[in-house]
Protein backbone atom coordinates (compact mmCIF):
# COMPACT_ATOMS: atom_id res chain seq x y z
CA UNK A 1 0.00 0.00 0.00
CA UNK A 2 2.78 2.43 1.01
CA UNK A 3 6.19 1.92 -0.58
CA UNK A 4 9.11 4.13 0.43
CA UNK A 5 12.26 3.52 -1.60
CA UNK A 6 15.64 5.16 -1.00
CA UNK A 7 14.18 8.48 0.05
CA UNK A 8 16.57 11.29 0.96
CA UNK A 9 15.83 14.85 1.88
CA UNK A 10 18.03 17.83 2.57
CA UNK A 11 17.23 21.19 4.11
CA UNK A 12 20.03 23.19 2.56
CA UNK A 13 23.10 21.32 3.73
CA UNK A 14 21.48 19.32 6.52
CA UNK A 15 20.27 15.90 5.57
CA UNK A 16 17.05 15.00 7.38
CA UNK A 17 16.28 11.74 5.56
CA UNK A 18 19.05 9.42 4.46
CA UNK A 19 18.20 6.75 1.95
CA UNK A 20 15.11 5.64 3.86
CA UNK A 21 13.25 2.56 2.63
CA UNK A 22 10.31 0.75 4.15
CA UNK A 23 6.78 -0.28 3.28
CA UNK A 24 3.36 -0.79 4.78
CA UNK A 25 1.30 -3.58 3.26
CA UNK A 26 -2.47 -3.45 3.03
CA UNK A 27 -4.07 -4.06 6.40
CA UNK A 28 -0.76 -3.74 8.20
CA UNK A 29 0.17 -1.48 11.11
CA UNK A 30 3.73 -0.18 11.17
CA UNK A 31 5.04 1.89 14.07
CA UNK A 32 7.82 4.41 13.49
CA UNK A 33 9.89 5.52 16.47
CA UNK A 34 13.16 7.21 17.20
CA UNK A 35 14.67 10.14 19.10
CA UNK A 36 13.49 13.71 18.65
CA UNK A 37 14.73 15.22 15.42
CA UNK A 38 15.39 11.86 13.80
CA UNK A 39 13.11 12.62 10.86
CA UNK A 40 9.94 10.73 11.75
CA UNK A 41 7.56 13.61 11.04
CA UNK A 42 9.42 14.48 7.89
CA UNK A 43 9.16 10.91 6.63
CA UNK A 44 5.47 10.55 7.34
CA UNK A 45 4.70 13.93 5.74
CA UNK A 46 6.55 12.83 2.63
CA UNK A 47 4.06 9.98 2.27
CA UNK A 48 1.18 12.32 1.45
CA UNK A 49 3.35 14.96 -0.15
CA UNK A 50 3.07 17.57 2.61
CA UNK A 51 6.86 17.61 2.49
CA UNK A 52 8.80 17.28 -0.73
CA UNK A 53 11.76 14.91 -0.82
CA UNK A 54 14.97 15.29 -2.75
CA UNK A 55 15.64 11.73 -3.91
CA UNK A 56 13.92 8.38 -4.06
CA UNK A 57 10.35 7.32 -4.70
CA UNK A 58 7.24 6.91 -2.59
CA UNK A 59 4.13 5.23 -3.93
CA UNK A 60 0.76 5.01 -2.25
CA UNK A 61 -1.61 2.47 -3.75
CA UNK A 62 0.65 2.43 -6.79
CA UNK A 63 0.56 6.22 -7.28
CA UNK A 64 3.89 8.01 -7.18
CA UNK A 65 3.81 10.86 -4.67
CA UNK A 66 6.88 12.66 -6.01
CA UNK A 67 5.70 12.62 -9.62
CA UNK A 68 4.84 16.20 -10.62
CA UNK A 69 1.98 14.82 -12.73
CA UNK A 70 0.29 13.27 -9.69
CA UNK A 71 -2.87 15.01 -8.54
CA UNK A 72 -1.76 15.44 -4.93
CA UNK A 73 -5.05 16.75 -3.51
CA UNK A 74 -6.82 13.74 -4.98
CA UNK A 75 -4.26 11.37 -3.49
CA UNK A 76 -4.30 13.11 -0.10
CA UNK A 77 -8.08 12.82 0.03
CA UNK A 78 -7.60 9.04 0.16
CA UNK A 79 -4.89 9.13 2.85
CA UNK A 80 -6.02 10.06 6.35
CA UNK A 81 -3.65 11.99 8.58
CA UNK A 82 -3.72 12.70 12.30
CA UNK A 83 -1.41 15.29 13.85
CA UNK A 84 0.27 15.72 17.20
CA UNK A 85 -1.63 18.97 17.87
CA UNK A 86 -4.97 17.69 16.46
CA UNK A 87 -5.28 20.62 14.03
CA UNK A 88 -9.03 20.76 14.15
CA UNK A 89 -10.28 23.93 12.49
CA UNK A 90 -11.08 26.11 15.50
CA UNK A 91 -13.60 28.34 13.70
CA UNK A 92 -15.85 25.40 12.80
CA UNK A 93 -17.85 23.21 15.11
CA UNK A 94 -17.15 19.50 15.35
CA UNK A 95 -19.65 18.44 12.71
CA UNK A 96 -18.50 21.17 10.31
CA UNK A 97 -14.92 19.95 10.79
CA UNK A 98 -16.04 16.50 9.73
CA UNK A 99 -18.14 17.72 6.83
CA UNK A 100 -15.81 20.28 5.21
CA UNK A 101 -13.65 18.03 3.05
CA UNK A 102 -16.45 15.55 2.41
CA UNK A 103 -18.38 18.37 0.76
CA UNK A 104 -15.53 20.35 -0.83
CA UNK A 105 -13.36 17.44 -1.94
CA UNK A 106 -15.61 14.42 -2.34
CA UNK A 107 -18.61 16.42 -3.50
CA UNK A 108 -20.99 14.88 -0.99
CA UNK A 109 -24.12 16.82 -0.08
CA UNK A 110 -24.29 18.55 3.29
CA UNK A 111 -26.83 15.97 4.49
CA UNK A 112 -24.73 13.01 3.39
CA UNK A 113 -21.67 14.54 5.01
CA UNK A 114 -23.53 15.21 8.25
CA UNK A 115 -24.91 11.68 8.37
CA UNK A 116 -21.48 10.18 7.81
CA UNK A 117 -19.98 12.62 10.32
CA UNK A 118 -22.52 11.75 12.99
CA UNK A 119 -21.95 8.03 12.48
CA UNK A 120 -18.22 8.52 13.00
CA UNK A 121 -18.73 10.72 16.04
CA UNK A 122 -20.86 7.93 17.45
CA UNK A 123 -18.04 5.53 16.85
CA UNK A 124 -15.48 7.66 18.74
CA UNK A 125 -18.02 8.30 21.50
CA UNK A 126 -18.55 12.00 20.81
CA UNK A 127 -21.97 12.16 19.20
CA UNK A 128 -23.18 14.50 21.95
CA UNK A 129 -20.45 17.02 21.15
CA UNK A 130 -21.28 17.55 17.47
CA UNK A 131 -22.25 21.19 17.90
CA UNK A 132 -19.32 22.17 20.11
CA UNK A 133 -16.26 24.01 18.92
CA UNK A 134 -12.79 22.45 19.21
CA UNK A 135 -11.80 24.96 21.89
CA UNK A 136 -14.57 23.59 24.08
CA UNK A 137 -13.23 20.02 24.04
CA UNK A 138 -10.45 18.31 25.96
CA UNK A 139 -7.30 17.24 24.12
CA UNK A 140 -8.34 13.62 24.03
CA UNK A 141 -11.76 14.54 22.65
CA UNK A 142 -10.18 16.78 20.02
CA UNK A 143 -7.88 14.01 18.88
CA UNK A 144 -10.77 11.59 18.60
CA UNK A 145 -12.64 14.14 16.49
CA UNK A 146 -9.50 14.51 14.34
CA UNK A 147 -9.45 10.75 13.77
CA UNK A 148 -13.14 10.79 12.90
CA UNK A 149 -12.50 13.68 10.49
CA UNK A 150 -9.87 11.64 8.68
CA UNK A 151 -12.09 8.56 8.61
CA UNK A 152 -14.96 10.54 7.14
CA UNK A 153 -13.04 10.62 3.86
CA UNK A 154 -13.07 6.79 3.74
CA UNK A 155 -9.28 6.64 3.51
CA UNK A 156 -7.38 3.66 2.15
CA UNK A 157 -4.71 4.15 4.81
CA UNK A 158 -4.00 6.35 7.82
CA UNK A 159 -0.91 8.26 8.90
CA UNK A 160 -0.45 9.23 12.55
CA UNK A 161 2.25 11.64 13.71
CA UNK A 162 2.62 11.27 17.49
CA UNK A 163 -1.15 11.39 18.06
CA UNK A 164 -0.89 11.08 21.85
CA UNK A 165 2.26 12.99 22.73
CA UNK A 166 0.48 16.32 23.27
CA UNK A 167 -2.09 14.71 25.57
CA UNK A 168 -2.32 14.60 29.33
CA UNK A 169 -1.60 11.03 30.48
CA UNK A 170 -5.19 10.34 31.49
CA UNK A 171 -6.40 11.03 27.95
CA UNK A 172 -3.91 8.88 26.07
CA UNK A 173 -5.92 5.72 26.60
CA UNK A 174 -9.13 6.98 24.98
CA UNK A 175 -7.23 7.87 21.80
CA UNK A 176 -5.21 4.64 21.72
CA UNK A 177 -8.42 2.64 22.15
CA UNK A 178 -9.80 4.18 18.96
CA UNK A 179 -6.55 3.45 17.14
CA UNK A 180 -6.42 -0.15 18.33
CA UNK A 181 -9.98 -0.68 17.19
CA UNK A 182 -9.11 0.73 13.78
CA UNK A 183 -6.10 -1.54 13.52
CA UNK A 184 -8.17 -4.56 14.46
CA UNK A 185 -10.63 -3.74 11.72
CA UNK A 186 -7.79 -4.02 9.24
CA UNK A 187 -6.99 -0.37 8.55
CA UNK A 188 -3.58 0.16 6.99
CA UNK A 189 -1.70 2.42 9.41
CA UNK A 190 1.68 4.08 9.62
CA UNK A 191 2.07 5.47 13.13
CA UNK A 192 4.82 7.61 14.53
CA UNK A 193 4.46 6.97 18.25
CA UNK A 194 6.39 6.18 21.36
CA UNK A 195 3.50 4.22 22.85
CA UNK A 196 5.26 0.89 22.97
CA UNK A 197 2.26 -0.85 24.49
CA UNK A 198 0.27 0.11 21.42
CA UNK A 199 3.09 -1.09 19.17
CA UNK A 200 3.23 -4.45 20.88
CA UNK A 201 -0.50 -4.92 20.64
CA UNK A 202 -1.16 -4.06 17.01
CA UNK A 203 2.01 -3.34 15.05
CA UNK A 204 3.27 -5.87 12.55
CA UNK A 205 6.66 -4.15 12.35
CA UNK A 206 8.56 -1.39 14.09
CA UNK A 207 10.75 1.05 12.16
CA UNK A 208 13.44 2.74 14.24
CA UNK A 209 14.93 5.98 12.92
CA UNK A 210 17.95 7.97 14.01
CA UNK A 211 19.53 10.95 12.26
CA UNK A 212 17.30 10.55 9.21
CA UNK A 213 18.27 6.94 8.73
CA UNK A 214 16.07 3.90 9.12
CA UNK A 215 18.32 1.99 11.46
CA UNK A 216 15.99 -0.92 12.07
CA UNK A 217 12.90 -2.29 10.40
CA UNK A 218 11.93 -5.44 12.26
CA UNK A 219 8.90 -7.50 13.24
CA UNK A 220 7.49 -6.11 16.48
CA UNK A 221 8.43 -9.05 18.68
CA UNK A 222 11.99 -9.18 17.40
CA UNK A 223 12.41 -5.42 17.77
CA UNK A 224 11.45 -5.41 21.42
CA UNK A 225 13.07 -8.67 22.44
CA UNK A 226 16.30 -8.41 20.55
CA UNK A 227 16.99 -5.04 18.91
CA UNK A 228 19.88 -5.48 16.53
CA UNK A 229 21.57 -2.10 16.84
CA UNK A 230 23.10 -0.45 19.88
CA UNK A 231 21.20 2.76 19.05
CA UNK A 232 17.82 1.01 19.15
CA UNK A 233 18.79 -0.71 22.41
CA UNK A 234 19.74 2.58 23.99
CA UNK A 235 16.54 4.22 22.73
CA UNK A 236 14.36 1.41 24.03
CA UNK A 237 15.89 1.39 27.46
CA UNK A 238 15.38 5.14 27.68
CA UNK A 239 11.78 5.03 26.56
CA UNK A 240 10.72 1.98 28.57
CA UNK A 241 12.20 3.21 31.83
CA UNK A 242 11.20 6.82 31.80
Amino acid sequence: MIEIRNVSKWYGHTQVLANASTHVAKGEVVVVCGPSGSGKSTLIKCVNGLEAFTQGTITVDGISVGDPKTDLPKLRARVGMVFQHFELFPHMNVLQNLALAQVKVLGRSQEEAATRGEALLDRVGLRAHAAKFPGQLSGGQQQRVAIARALAMDPICMLFDEPTSALDPEMIGEVLDVMVELAQEGMTMMCVTHEMGFARRVARRVVFMDHGEIVEDAPTGAFFDAPASARAKAFLSRILHH
Binding site: K45, H85, F89, P90, F133, G135
Partner: protein
Protein backbone atom coordinates in the same frame (compact mmCIF):
# COMPACT_ATOMS: atom_id res chain seq x y z
CA UNK B 1 -10.69 86.12 22.11
CA UNK B 2 -12.42 88.68 20.06
CA UNK B 3 -14.49 86.43 17.86
CA UNK B 4 -18.02 86.85 16.75
CA UNK B 5 -19.65 83.44 17.35
CA UNK B 6 -22.51 82.54 15.10
CA UNK B 7 -23.78 78.98 15.42
CA UNK B 8 -26.71 79.86 13.23
CA UNK B 9 -24.37 80.20 10.27
CA UNK B 10 -25.07 76.67 9.06
CA UNK B 11 -28.65 77.53 8.21
CA UNK B 12 -27.76 80.75 6.44
CA UNK B 13 -27.61 80.84 2.64
CA UNK B 14 -24.21 80.93 0.97
CA UNK B 15 -23.10 84.20 -0.65
CA UNK B 16 -23.89 83.19 -4.21
CA UNK B 17 -26.61 80.61 -4.69
CA UNK B 18 -29.66 79.35 -2.86
CA UNK B 19 -27.96 76.59 -0.83
CA UNK B 20 -27.22 76.83 2.87
CA UNK B 21 -23.81 76.10 4.37
CA UNK B 22 -25.33 72.99 5.87
CA UNK B 23 -26.10 71.80 2.33
CA UNK B 24 -22.43 72.21 1.49
CA UNK B 25 -21.35 70.16 4.48
CA UNK B 26 -23.91 67.46 3.73
CA UNK B 27 -22.64 67.25 0.14
CA UNK B 28 -19.12 67.07 1.54
CA UNK B 29 -20.06 64.30 3.94
CA UNK B 30 -21.66 62.40 1.06
CA UNK B 31 -18.48 62.52 -1.03
CA UNK B 32 -16.34 61.65 1.98
CA UNK B 33 -18.48 58.57 2.60
CA UNK B 34 -18.47 57.66 -1.10
CA UNK B 35 -14.70 57.93 -1.46
CA UNK B 36 -14.03 56.16 1.85
CA UNK B 37 -16.41 53.25 1.40
CA UNK B 38 -15.42 52.62 -2.22
CA UNK B 39 -11.76 52.77 -1.27
CA UNK B 40 -12.39 50.44 1.66
CA UNK B 41 -14.06 47.76 -0.47
CA UNK B 42 -11.24 47.98 -2.99
CA UNK B 43 -8.64 47.88 -0.22
CA UNK B 44 -10.19 44.87 1.50
CA UNK B 45 -10.47 42.84 -1.70
CA UNK B 46 -6.99 43.59 -2.95
CA UNK B 47 -5.38 43.66 0.48
CA UNK B 48 -6.66 40.22 1.47
CA UNK B 49 -5.63 38.76 -1.88
CA UNK B 50 -2.16 40.30 -1.85
CA UNK B 51 -1.66 39.47 1.82
CA UNK B 52 -2.58 35.84 1.16
CA UNK B 53 -0.29 35.64 -1.90
CA UNK B 54 2.60 36.74 0.28
CA UNK B 55 2.19 33.62 2.41
CA UNK B 56 2.07 31.06 -0.42
CA UNK B 57 4.97 28.72 -1.20
CA UNK B 58 5.48 30.46 -4.57
CA UNK B 59 8.49 32.81 -4.52
CA UNK B 60 7.17 34.70 -7.52
CA UNK B 61 3.84 35.46 -5.88
CA UNK B 62 5.52 36.42 -2.60
CA UNK B 63 7.87 38.73 -4.51
CA UNK B 64 5.05 40.40 -6.41
CA UNK B 65 3.12 40.88 -3.18
CA UNK B 66 6.13 42.44 -1.50
CA UNK B 67 6.67 44.86 -4.37
CA UNK B 68 3.02 45.90 -4.16
CA UNK B 69 3.25 46.65 -0.47
CA UNK B 70 6.53 48.56 -0.66
CA UNK B 71 5.33 50.59 -3.62
CA UNK B 72 2.31 51.99 -1.84
CA UNK B 73 3.59 52.42 1.65
CA UNK B 74 6.80 54.28 0.90
CA UNK B 75 5.27 57.25 -0.90
CA UNK B 76 3.17 59.91 0.89
CA UNK B 77 -0.54 59.58 0.24
CA UNK B 78 -0.84 63.17 -0.97
CA UNK B 79 1.88 62.59 -3.56
CA UNK B 80 0.17 59.39 -4.65
CA UNK B 81 -3.05 61.37 -5.11
CA UNK B 82 -1.25 63.76 -7.49
CA UNK B 83 0.49 60.89 -9.26
CA UNK B 84 -2.80 59.17 -10.00
CA UNK B 85 -4.43 62.40 -11.07
CA UNK B 86 -1.73 64.07 -13.16
CA UNK B 87 0.85 61.42 -14.05
CA UNK B 88 -0.82 58.06 -14.50
CA UNK B 89 -3.23 59.21 -17.27
CA UNK B 90 -0.23 60.38 -19.31
CA UNK B 91 1.20 56.87 -19.36
CA UNK B 92 -1.98 55.14 -20.49
CA UNK B 93 -2.43 54.14 -24.15
CA UNK B 94 -3.44 57.21 -26.19
CA UNK B 95 -7.16 56.46 -26.47
CA UNK B 96 -7.53 55.62 -22.81
CA UNK B 97 -5.54 58.66 -21.83
CA UNK B 98 -7.85 60.94 -23.79
CA UNK B 99 -10.91 59.24 -22.39
CA UNK B 100 -9.69 59.54 -18.79
CA UNK B 101 -8.80 63.20 -19.22
CA UNK B 102 -11.88 64.31 -21.10
CA UNK B 103 -14.77 61.93 -20.66
CA UNK B 104 -14.39 59.79 -17.54
CA UNK B 105 -17.39 60.52 -15.31
CA UNK B 106 -16.64 61.74 -11.78
CA UNK B 107 -12.95 61.73 -12.59
CA UNK B 108 -11.83 63.21 -9.28
CA UNK B 109 -13.93 60.80 -7.27
CA UNK B 110 -12.77 57.73 -9.20
CA UNK B 111 -9.14 58.75 -8.97
CA UNK B 112 -9.35 59.44 -5.25
CA UNK B 113 -11.14 56.15 -4.52
CA UNK B 114 -8.60 54.12 -6.51
CA UNK B 115 -5.66 55.94 -4.95
CA UNK B 116 -6.88 55.63 -1.38
CA UNK B 117 -8.03 52.05 -2.00
CA UNK B 118 -4.66 50.87 -3.31
CA UNK B 119 -2.77 52.78 -0.63
CA UNK B 120 -4.87 51.11 2.06
CA UNK B 121 -4.68 47.71 0.36
CA UNK B 122 -0.92 47.65 0.93
CA UNK B 123 -1.45 48.22 4.64
CA UNK B 124 -4.14 45.55 4.82
CA UNK B 125 -1.93 43.14 2.89
CA UNK B 126 0.74 43.60 5.52
CA UNK B 127 -1.69 42.82 8.32
CA UNK B 128 -3.21 39.83 6.57
CA UNK B 129 0.26 38.42 5.94
CA UNK B 130 1.08 38.74 9.63
CA UNK B 131 -2.26 37.17 10.56
CA UNK B 132 -1.72 34.16 8.31
CA UNK B 133 1.84 33.87 9.60
CA UNK B 134 0.64 33.69 13.18
CA UNK B 135 -1.44 30.56 12.54
CA UNK B 136 0.15 27.21 13.36
CA UNK B 137 1.65 25.66 10.23
CA UNK B 138 -0.28 22.50 11.08
CA UNK B 139 -3.57 24.15 10.08
CA UNK B 140 -2.44 24.38 6.47
CA UNK B 141 -1.08 20.84 6.61
CA UNK B 142 -4.34 19.54 8.04
CA UNK B 143 -6.39 21.26 5.34
CA UNK B 144 -4.15 19.97 2.56
CA UNK B 145 -4.02 16.48 4.10
CA UNK B 146 -7.80 16.28 3.75
CA UNK B 147 -7.44 16.81 0.01
CA UNK B 148 -8.31 20.50 -0.14
CA UNK B 149 -6.38 22.41 -2.79
CA UNK B 150 -4.23 25.32 -1.62
CA UNK B 151 -6.85 27.92 -2.69
CA UNK B 152 -9.54 25.92 -0.89
CA UNK B 153 -7.33 25.70 2.19
CA UNK B 154 -6.99 29.50 2.19
CA UNK B 155 -10.66 30.09 1.56
CA UNK B 156 -12.02 27.62 4.11
CA UNK B 157 -9.39 27.31 6.79
CA UNK B 158 -6.59 29.86 6.74
CA UNK B 159 -8.25 33.16 5.89
CA UNK B 160 -11.32 32.74 8.13
CA UNK B 161 -8.93 32.39 11.07
CA UNK B 162 -6.41 34.99 9.94
CA UNK B 163 -9.09 37.61 9.32
CA UNK B 164 -10.55 37.11 12.77
CA UNK B 165 -7.10 37.68 14.21
CA UNK B 166 -6.55 40.91 12.27
CA UNK B 167 -9.88 42.57 13.03
CA UNK B 168 -8.30 44.96 15.57
CA UNK B 169 -5.66 46.35 13.17
CA UNK B 170 -8.24 46.36 10.36
CA UNK B 171 -10.44 48.48 12.57
CA UNK B 172 -7.86 51.22 12.73
CA UNK B 173 -7.34 50.95 8.96
CA UNK B 174 -11.06 51.41 8.43
CA UNK B 175 -10.99 54.50 10.64
CA UNK B 176 -7.90 55.73 8.79
CA UNK B 177 -9.70 55.50 5.47
CA UNK B 178 -12.21 58.13 6.57
CA UNK B 179 -9.49 60.37 7.93
CA UNK B 180 -7.19 59.87 4.93
CA UNK B 181 -10.02 60.60 2.49
CA UNK B 182 -9.55 64.28 3.38
CA UNK B 183 -6.49 64.24 1.13
CA UNK B 184 -8.87 63.91 -1.84
CA UNK B 185 -9.64 67.62 -1.55
CA UNK B 186 -6.23 68.25 -3.14
CA UNK B 187 -7.43 66.96 -6.51
CA UNK B 188 -10.79 68.69 -6.22
CA UNK B 189 -13.15 66.09 -4.79
CA UNK B 190 -15.97 68.03 -3.15
CA UNK B 191 -15.61 66.15 0.13
CA UNK B 192 -15.82 67.43 3.68
CA UNK B 193 -12.45 69.12 3.90
CA UNK B 194 -12.96 70.81 0.56
CA UNK B 195 -16.38 72.05 1.62
CA UNK B 196 -15.02 73.21 4.94
CA UNK B 197 -12.38 75.39 3.30
CA UNK B 198 -14.96 76.77 0.96
CA UNK B 199 -17.37 77.51 3.78
CA UNK B 200 -14.68 79.12 5.89
CA UNK B 201 -13.74 81.51 3.08
CA UNK B 202 -17.31 82.22 2.13
CA UNK B 203 -18.75 82.69 5.63
CA UNK B 204 -15.70 83.86 7.54
CA UNK B 205 -16.89 81.68 10.44
CA UNK B 206 -13.87 79.37 10.41
CA UNK B 207 -14.16 78.13 13.98
CA UNK B 208 -17.75 76.91 13.70
CA UNK B 209 -16.93 75.40 10.32
CA UNK B 210 -13.95 73.38 11.48
CA UNK B 211 -15.57 72.33 14.74
CA UNK B 212 -18.52 70.99 12.77
CA UNK B 213 -16.27 69.18 10.32
CA UNK B 214 -14.20 67.76 13.16
CA UNK B 215 -17.38 66.38 14.69
CA UNK B 216 -18.45 64.85 11.37
CA UNK B 217 -15.08 63.10 10.87
CA UNK B 218 -15.21 61.93 14.46
CA UNK B 219 -18.65 60.43 13.94
CA UNK B 220 -17.49 58.62 10.77
CA UNK B 221 -14.41 57.11 12.38
CA UNK B 222 -16.25 56.27 15.58
CA UNK B 223 -19.07 54.56 13.68
CA UNK B 224 -16.47 52.58 11.75
CA UNK B 225 -14.92 51.54 15.03
CA UNK B 226 -18.22 50.42 16.54
CA UNK B 227 -19.14 48.60 13.33
CA UNK B 228 -15.95 46.60 13.41
CA UNK B 229 -16.43 45.84 17.10
CA UNK B 230 -19.86 44.48 16.23
CA UNK B 231 -18.37 42.27 13.51
CA UNK B 232 -15.67 41.09 15.89
CA UNK B 233 -18.27 40.10 18.47
CA UNK B 234 -20.42 38.36 15.88
CA UNK B 235 -17.58 36.29 14.45
CA UNK B 236 -16.07 35.34 17.80
CA UNK B 237 -15.47 31.61 18.02
CA UNK B 238 -16.66 29.88 21.19
CA UNK B 239 -13.84 28.45 23.29
CA UNK B 240 -11.11 29.74 20.99
CA UNK B 241 -7.87 30.43 22.77
CA UNK B 242 -5.20 31.71 20.42
CA UNK B 243 -2.45 29.18 19.83
CA UNK B 244 0.50 30.29 17.80
CA UNK B 245 3.41 28.37 16.43
Amino acid sequence: MNYHWNWGIFLEPVKSGDETYLDWLITGLGWTLAVSLTAWLLALTIGIAVGALRTTPSRLLVGLGNVWVELFRNVPLLVQMFLWFFVVPEFLPRDWSLWVKQEMPAKEFVTAAICLGLFTSARIAEQVRAGVGSLPRGQRDAALALGLTLPQAYRQVILPQALRIVIPPLTSEFMNVFKNSSVAFAIGVLELTFQARQMQEDSEQGIETYLAVTLLYFICAFTANRGMAWIEARTRVPGLIARSG
